[in-house]
Amino acid sequence: MGEPTNQHSEVLTSHIWPIGGGKGGTGKSFLTGNIGILLARKGYRTLLIDADLGAPNLHTIIGLPDPATSLSDFLNKRVGTLQETVIEMPVHNLFLISGAKNKLDIANLAHEQKMKILRAVSRLDYDYILFDLGTGTSFNTIDFFTLSDSGIFICTPEPTSIENTYRLIRSVYVRKIRQVLKSDRFRNLSHEAETRNPETIIHNPEYLLDTLKDIDPEEGRSIERVLKSFQFKLVLNQVRKQDNPKIGWLICKIIEKHLDLKIQFIGNVSFDERVHEVVCKREPFIEKYRYSQTTLDLEAVIKCIMNGAEEPVVALQNPIFVQKGLHTQTLSYEET
């Protein structure tokens, strides 16, 4: 990633990151909003798009009570360009496309409308564009991942959240194969794969690729390349002291090993009970608790987002050694 554009205006390419999770309450909007503020503070022009179409509340997380425009203004052609729905936030370099005034029936977008949004987004000139996506495995959520070939998954260290994260990632996997192959080819392939393994679509979508490689090795390799071109990242949120700090790393290892998808673990974000307090007060967390462990964790996460391949470096409980890919809290800071 280059320097912020207010210093080097020649950097025009936006980094687009859909942010989603398989389960509600994992902190997608919280992380999107606070990561956005941190990026903006570093001088990067950052646009947040509330694409949680059914339940938008990103504006509340970043402290904007009543947004004047929203995404639906663009979809309903009330405005001519997506840029016209952008709201400039009080935080310098931070911008928002809100979902607050979306119509209540907007939750199910047609494929064309999603493409329209993504085409319009690709013409916007920001350093970072973060999509706050809805929960679960609806096409609205999955398509933002598959169409942009990138994404950050938010998960908590609980079985329910991990289970739904796997489900979401497998859904993205199947959806991508379906998009590349077109419907007839996909139907034939899934029929053949299900004959070989009856649980293919439900539990083992990886058999789709295996089956395709058997039937048409060249096309199989081509799909494999497409799947490997995804740039996925995983953040483990609401991590408590008693949680295994390696869980996020292990989840990524399992996905890479068994699904052949590339996914990078970019860090643990500590649980902080004061999050509830700031959400109730509609204040951005990192503005109020700049030196909390959670804020420091978020700083480490955006470093990984910006640096791509760099793994999180975190200290363990006993500070005799430091190892990559892990995390626990050994530091304590006084609040300002």
């Binding site: 260290p157 079985p159 991990i162 289970e163 796997y166 649980e199 539990h203 083992n204 990886e206 058999y207 295996d210 295994n244 390696k246 869980i247 292990l250 989840i251 290892k253 399992i254 090993k257 068994h258 363990l316 409980q317 006993n318 005799i320 050694f321 430091v322 190892q323 892990l326």
Partner: protein, 212 residues
């Protein structure tokens, strides 16, 4: 199970062909924890049947690679298949170890290499980290760390050039058998270094229990 069927035992355990027994032991433990039914990271990823297949293959890999004769036959099979190159397999003779640093050929100091391989294991193992949090360490604690690392007392004796009888007396807290004062400290430091631990911290915490 997809892909795993095609992996050889070394790939399955994610270790090199020259891995020492303690590395095999550690890799097996990690993999077993990752794939067993209670693992938070994988319990919802695999079906029961797939998980059983993985665990059976892991057991097979471990029992083969930990047995010198079986490992040798298995390596021979891999050599015949062109997967492993002759001379690249683990040989006990490689592990003639010395703590005396060879400045001209630092990579030939196997003790140093092993210590460096153990350090990340030490820092990621919660049991070891808990023990290292104690103010005072007993021989039982040290043995627990050693067992967690999967390294034998014989290997330590060989690396540290300390007689087995002294190492045993240290681990069993038989202070009447341990060598006196400065020698005990020196042996403790060598023992700790061989396991990738901070030698001074371990020696000082152990010596707190030794009667003057």
């Amino acid at each position: 199970m997809r892909k795993l069927d095609n992996l050889n035992f070394y790939e399955l355990l994610e270790i090199g062909f020259d891995a020492a027994p303690f590395e095999i032991h550690h890799a097996y433990k990690e993999m077993h924890q990752l794939y067993h039914g209670d693992s938070l990271a994988t319990y919802s990823f695999f079906s029961k049947e797939d998980r059983e297949k993985i665990l059976i293959k892991l057991e097979e890999a471990y029992s083969t690679l930990m047995d010198d004769n079986k490992r040798s036959s298995y390596d021979q099979l891999l050599i015949e298949q062109g997967i492993l190159e002759e001379g690249m397999q683990y040989q006990k003779s490689q592990r003639k170890l010395s703590l005396i640093s060879n400045a001209e050929h630092p990579n030939t100091n196997m003790a140093l290499i092993i210590r460096n391989r153990l350090k990340p294991i030490v820092s990621s193992n919660p049991t070891i980290q808990e023990i290292l949090g104690y103010d005072v360490l007993s021989g039982k604690d040290l043995r627990k760390i050693r067992e967690e690392l999967g390294i034998s007392l014989e290997e330590i004796a060989e690396m540290a050039k300390v007689r087995m009888v002294y190492l045993q007396s240290i681990e069993e807290d038989r202070f009447e058998k341990t060598p006196p004062g400065i020698f005990l400290k020196s042996f403790l430091k060598a023992y700790a270094q061989c396991m990738g631990l901070d030698a001074d911290i371990v020696a000082n915490r152990y010596l707190k229990r030794v009667p003057h």
